[in-house]
């Protein structure tokens, strides 16, 4: 029963003395939030669905004409949009896989008794506390072929990280990995410290090798929390805009959100961009759903 979830108000409290019942307090907290959500989330969502079936352009006075599924048809037939999706998928896979590998690896290294562990962990968390735009600007300088420190340190001469069409996407993903691996590391650390010590002791007694211990004990027990990290990072990576937009403007790094931004706010094709936004929304929902299903399965084991 839903109502039993709400704890009854303490009769001696000040709120009760003012004549507020627990129901009215609940309403006081929930109704503004719900209203806020409806006004700023739900309403625009439905409104833009309507626009996605029109040829509306916010920059002109021309009335919006109903065009049915024309926008969706055009978008799904546009080879550029498909290439944007392909680029986004490639970016998500590289970036999330990289973060998982680096983040989990660092967490494994940190998951032992070492001096200054707390300080080390805090320092490692710094990248994800910076703003995306600032990271983008920093890395643009770091990657610079003429005076960038990366080429200098690696002795790559004038290697063009961001102007090489083939390399640019990897360069953006690398920056994203640098920035968000700490997030995966943090979640993994929490997962790792929750693995019961006696399991390792038992494994040691049975003379299990380190690989066996890792794949049979550590990984299965940390998997659910790793899955959560993957869900978060996939959703974020799918939406990446600022980092790629600031670092480079190669056609090979035009992620779907950049395409959407250009369509909506540079070309002012409002109707069509609403349709594209819906296509993206449906894709993100679908991917997240698959993950959540899988997560539940992992948890059941």
């Amino acid at each position: 029963m839903a109502t039993t979830m709400i704890t009854t108000l303490d009769r001696s409290s000040r709120a009760a003395a003012r004549g507020l019942s627990d129901i009215s307090i609940r309403n006081l907290f929930i109704i503004p939030t719900v209203l806020f959500l409806i006004v700023f989330n739900i309403f625009p969502l439905i409104y833009s669905l309507g626009y996605s079936f029109t040829d509306f352009r916010a920059s002109t006075n021309a009335p919006a004409n109903f065009v049915g599924l024309q926008n969706y048809r055009d978008l799904l037939n546009d080879p550029y949009v498909w290439s944007n999706f392909a680029i986004t998928a490639k970016y998500v896979i590289i970036s999330v896989a990289g973060q998982l590998l680096v983040g989990f690896g660092v967490a494994m290294l940190l998951n032992r008794d070492i001096p200054l562990k707390g300080l080390l962990t805090t320092l490692l968390l710094l990248p994800m506390m910076l703003s995306m735009a600032v990271v983008g600007l920093f890395w643009k300088l770091l990657y610079d072929p003429s005076f960038g420190i990366i080429n200098y340190a690696l002795g790559l001469g004038t290697f063009e990280w961001l102007s090489d069409p083939k390399m640019a996407l990897y360069a953006v993903a690398l920056t994203d990995i640098w920035m968000w691996s700490p997030f995966v590391m943090l979640l993994s650390l929490a997962g790792l410290s929750a693995v019961p010590k006696h399991l390792y002791e038992a494994a040691a007694i049975d003379r299990a090798g380190p690989f066996y211990t890792f794949f049979r004990i550590t990984l299965p027990l940390v998997a659910p929390i790793l899955m959560i990290a993957v869900i978060f990072r996939t959703m974020e990576a799918f939406k990446t805009f600022d980092l790629a937009y600031i670092l480079t403007s190669q056609p090979t790094t035009e992620l779907i959100s950049i395409r959407l931004y250009k369509m909506a706010f540079q070309e002012w094709q409002t109707g069509r961009s609403c349709a594209l936004a819906y296509i993206v929304l449906i894709m993100v929902l679908a991917i997240t759903n698959i993950y959540v299903k899988y997560l539940n399965k992992v948890k059941e084991r």
């Binding site: 352009r57 480079t248 190669q250 070309e267």
Partner: protein, 438 residues
């Protein structure tokens, strides 16, 4: 509960009070422009206006990259945050047909601005549709793409000798596109960290288009027919194909990492000793003769965009006109400011502050032409400029140009002919979509 209601009401009251107090200061005007030096000069000019009339002028700026987005977001919301906007020449179509700009045709005719301002500036900064004699802006900042170069590199006797030996003619300011290419090749020395030329390649707004136009127009090519919207046989003509090839050829001699460069990078090419020649808008040249911002200021020279093989000489137009926003509450006050702005003495002051006046009389005056090392090149250029499409859907046309030309220029995909044929097809489809032409 009553207390809550009272405090909410008090809050609303306070907000309203603050709101009305803004309206009380009627003697102020806000002009919206991009963040660059000319906007600072305009602010200084505005300060003079305040001294004379007591009307406060505020020039509000935003970085170039979101100038268009921010301005149109405000227009589309019918906001009155800006009384006037110094909009890009391509915005005329969207601004006028969208109802965002006040029709200034009467103002224009009353003050005979068609004669006062240089013809190209009237055609491209003020009139829409082309040839309609309807005006939506007053030419404010004239601008076009020109070139800066390293005089010390060009005048070095050893270099001159080596150049003559290799190419058979004297090293000097390029007389045509072929010379431009040869000099770029000559100075391209990656082992010395010296490169030939800096050009526009950024594909996020109009940089790539402006750079390519410089070659296209001088090669005698056209983007299309501005009155019939016919593009086939124009943008993919043999001349246009040759122009694109010539522009791509120049990319070979640029500094490393030159795939997202616009005005900032191109000025850096001169200040950081990277390139022998650099393409840029004249509006960015003042900082090149300033020793504080350019250590090579004394050794920097300027020239107009050279002619192509057929002898045609044109340049891509930048620059902006000032328009009154139709949602402004202070249109009368704004009109008064414009009346003051077009006066001859104001135009002279504007030029002296560093603004690029469009007044034909001031442009022609020897004092203007001798004021800086680049004013003469500017004067010459302003009478042979051409611009991009100014239709409301220009941003889509730009995007299509970027989408087609960039992969060819930077990635080397396909051929120039294929690129421009595809672009012509894209543009045809777009014009058809908006019911333009036949």
């Amino acid at each position: 509960m009553r207390k809550l209601v009272t405090s909410v009401l008090a809050g609303i009251g306070l907000t309203l009070a603050c709101g009305t107090s803004v309206y009380a200061q009627e003697k102020s005007l806000t002009i919206f422009w991009a963040e660059w030096d000319p906007a600072n000069y305009l602010q200084e000019l505005g300060n003079e206006y305040e001294k004379e009339t007591g009307v406060k002028i505020t020039v509000e700026t935003t970085p170039w990259s979101d100038f268009q987005t921010k301005a149109f977001t405000e227009f589309n919301a019918h906001g009155d945050a800006y009384d006037m906007v110094v909009g890009d020449s391509q915005w005329l179509g969207a601004g006028s047909t969208g109802g965002h700009y006040v029709d200034l045709t009467d103002f224009f005719n009353k003050h005979k601005l068609g004669e006062v301002m240089a013809p190209a500036t009237v055609k491209y900064y003020a009139e829409y549709p082309g040839g309609s004699s309807k005006y939506w802006a007053i030419p404010l900042e004239g601008d076009a793409v020109g070139w800066s170069y390293r005089k010390d590199w060009f005048e070095d006797p050893k270099e001159k000798e080596a150049f003559k030996a290799k190419y058979g003619y004297d090293l000097d300011v390029p007389k045509d596109f072929k010379a431009l290419r040869d000099i770029a090749e000559f100075f391209y020395r990656p082992d010395q960290k010296r490169y030939g030329i800096a050009i526009y390649t950024d594909n996020s707004y109009d940089a790539m288009a402006m750079g390519f136009e410089n070659a296209l127009f001088s090669y005698g090519g056209e983007l299309g027919d501005y009155s019939t919207y016919k593009v086939d046989g124009f943008i993919n003509s043999d001349k246009a194909v040759a122009a694109l090839d010539a522009y791509k050829e120049l990319y070979k001699f640029t500094p490393p990492g030159w795939a997202k460069s616009f005005f900032v990078e191109d000025n850096q090419a001169i200040t950081e000793n990277l390139a022998a020649m650099s393409m840029n808008y004249f509006a960015f040249f003042p900082s090149l003769i300033n020793e504080a911002s350019n250590p090579n200021a004394k050794n920097t020279g300027f020239f107009a965009n050279p002619p192509g093989p057929g002898g045609d000489q044109f340049a891509a137009l930048g620059g902006q006109g000032i328009s009154i926003v139709s949602y402004s509450q202070k249109q009368e006050e704004a009109t008064k400011f414009l009346e003051w702005f077009i006066k001859d003495e104001t135009q002279k002051k504007w030029a002296a502050l560093g603004g690029y006046t469009c007044s034909a009389a001031v442009l022609k005056s020897p004092e203007f032409q001798n004021a800086t090392p680049y004013n003469k090149a500017f004067y010459e250029t302003m009478f042979k400029v051409k611009d991009f499409w100014a239709v409301p859907e220009y941003a889509e046309l730009l995007q299509q140009l970027n989408q087609r030309v960039y992969p060819y220029m930077i990635g080397g995909e396909g051929t120039a002919k294929e690129t421009l044929d595809a672009l012509a097809a894209d543009w045809n489809a777009t014009f058809k979509k908006y019911g333009r032409g036949q």
